[in-house]
């Protein structure tokens, strides 16, 4: 399992305006959701993990290597990141070429890259679209191309920036099962999300960012129990959690299934 240590990390695009201040986090094997308001510093933070940005102060260590001393290219084989907007990521004019680009770049052979690319496209449900131009696809399909491009690189760490944007129910479920699959294969999954119901369903750990600092960090159930604290960060718990709280339950329920089986388990029948 990949190891990421963040120590007293501070960063600002301009010196006078720090975007992140004094962040210390270590990532264990748990799938981790990063939540927070637009502008809280979430995307900046993951760009620092990937070495696209370098800390103003403090350190980011990837498997013991300081990102200050590593090139983006040398980190690319270890950390994959799916951008929020697929248009920022996609530049080839054929889907297959796009998805093979990363694998080839980190030194896979042509055959190996193709194999990885085809498997990744199957996983995101884009089989048969290999020869299409990504810009002839819909936004939700393009997002899937962007995800496949990163999966094909088979990195130890996979970062998703807002993976569920523009996805319908089926797309959300596909992405959810990809995240679970990565976790089962021992990958470290980190995702920035605004969809709290999705966080509740698929992530073991949740970190709340607010104004460039870590406000809360813990198991997802534990974090979503702290409603007051979440509201201070302009967030709210998942819909099911809110409903159960309003009904006076003391436990924190994360999904509809969770709650339905609890009620049925207590002998409720219609």
């Amino acid at each position: 399992m990949a190891d990421i240590q963040v120590k007293e990390l501070t960063f600002g695009y301009a010196e006078s305006k720090p975007v992140l201040q004094g962040i210390s986090l270590s990532f264990d094997g748990r799938s981790t959701a990063i939540i927070g308001q637009n502008g809280a510093g979430k995307t900046t933070f993951v760009k620092l993990l990937k070495g696209l940005l370098k800390p103003t102060a403090g350190d980011v260590l990837i498997d013991g290597q300081n990102t200050r001393e590593a090139t983006v290219a040398s980190l690319a084989g270890r950390i994959g990141m799916v951008f929020q907007n697929p248009n920022d990521q996609i530049f080839k004019n054929k889907v297959l070429d796009e998805v093979m680009f990363g694998p080839l770049n980190i030194g896979m052979s042509e055959g190996e890259a193709k194999e990885h690319a085809e498997a990744a496209l199957a996983l995101v449900g884009l089989c048969g679209l290999e020869q299409e131009n990504p810009y002839d696809l819909s936004l939700s399909e393009r997002k899937m191309v962007a995800i496949a491009s990163i999966l094909a690189m088979d990195t130890g760490v996979v970062i998703f920036d807002e993976p569920t944007i523009a996805q319908d129910w089926r797309g959300r479920r596909t992405i959810g099962s990809i995240i679970r699959g990565l976790r089962e294969r021992g990958k470290l999954v980190i995702a920035i999300l605004h969809d709290m119901d999705f966080v509740a369903e698929y992530f073991e750990r949740t970190v709340v960012f607010a104004k460039g600092r870590v406000l809360l960090d813990g198991g997802t159930r534990e974090v979503f129990a702290k409603e007051e604290c979440l509201r201070a960060a302009y967030l709210e718990p998942p819909h099911v959690t809110q409903l159960c709280k309003s009904l006076g339950y003391n436990e924190v329920f994360l999904t509809a299934e969770d709650f339905v089986s609890h009620v049925k388990g207590n002998g409720f029948t219609v």
Binding site: N38, W169, H194, Y249
Partner: protein, 286 residues
């Protein structure tokens, strides 16, 4: 007269074989808030583009039937005229931004300059739009320095400033944080209460249930049903259409809790709370 009347609308994109819209007919009254749902590829965005005339004026292809906005036929009305009546907010704000303006303020002014409005009128409308979307603080910023959420609110402000009678929003909150999307829904609801007709495509079913007067469920280029949120989210074919009902409805469906009078499932937190509170008694508290 219906504010929007769509009669037997059919449309096929150029170079494709299948109809994207097959024989769609419906009417919408002035000031209604309509939610449009369905899986990706159902025809939602295509319908939006037909309502504001981008289809067939920009996207060619095969077009049949009629779209009437306030009695005027969209396909026969020049875009320059139709845009005073119908505004559209795209899913991706990058598609909407002109790219030629250096501040948020000027960006919002762009549409108004094209309408040739007097300066004082422009200032009044821009200030109003900035306030409604709560982006006054961003007025002097470069549009390309904004976050996705801020940019989307700017795009909506640009349409609101045009003061159209109908506003179509195609997944306007997909880039926004929870607070930002709640703000957009509230702002849109405010416009609706002022008599503006709203049609919004959205995947956030809890929001659709809370804000829509009626919900249109689309699949494979057709309208499956067009009714109250309670009726739509109680349909058995929902999952087959690739739509998951609101979390509140999922719970009530899971427990078989229907509204005693209507036989329909609750769709909002308040409705679900009421239904669940009645059964709580001995079984529930943890």
């Amino acid at each position: 007269m219906a504010h929007i009347a769509v009669q037997h609308l059919k449309y096929r994109y150029p170079l494709t074989d299948e109809l994207a819209l097959r024989d769609i007919s419906f009417t919408v009254g002035e000031g209604e808030f309509i939610g449009i749902i369905g899986q990706n590829g159902a025809g939602k965005s295509t319908l939006c583009q037909a309502l504001c005339g981008i289809i067939p004026s920009f996207y060619k292809g095969a077009y049949g039937g009629k779209v009437l906005i306030d009695g005027e036929e969209a396909a026969k009305t020049p875009v320059a005229e139709l845009c005073r009546k119908v505004g559209i907010v795209f899913q991706n704000p990058f598609s909407q931004v002109t790219g030629s303006k250096l501040t948020v303020y000027e960006e919002i002014a762009f549409g108004l300059e094209n309408l040739g409005l007097p300066r004082e009128e422009m200032v009044r409308r821009i200030d109003h739009a900035l306030e409604l979307l709560d982006i006054q603080a961003l007025r002097e910023q470069n549009p390309f320095d904004l976050s996705g959420g801020q940019m989307q609110r700017m795009a909506i402000a640009g349409i609101i400033a045009m003061e159209p009678q109908v506003i179509i929003l195609d997944e306007p909150t997909s880039q926004l944080d929870p607070q930002g999307s709640e703000e957009v829904f509230r702002a849109v609801q405010k416009l609706c209460l002022q008599g503006i007709t709203i049609l919004m495509v959205e995947h956030k079913m809890e929001k659709i249930a809370a804000y829509s007067d009626r919900v249109m469920l689309m699949d494979k280029g057709e309208i499956v049903d067009f009714d109250t949120p309670q009726k739509i989210f109680s349909l058995d074919c929902l999952e087959a259409c690739g739509v998951q009902p609101p979390a509140f409805t999922q719970i009530c469906r899971g427990l078989g809790l229907r509204n005693g009078d209507t036989g329909l499932y609750p769709v909002t937190l308040e409705e679900a709370h009421k239904a669940l509170d009645q059964i709580k008694g001995g079984a529930a508290h943890g």
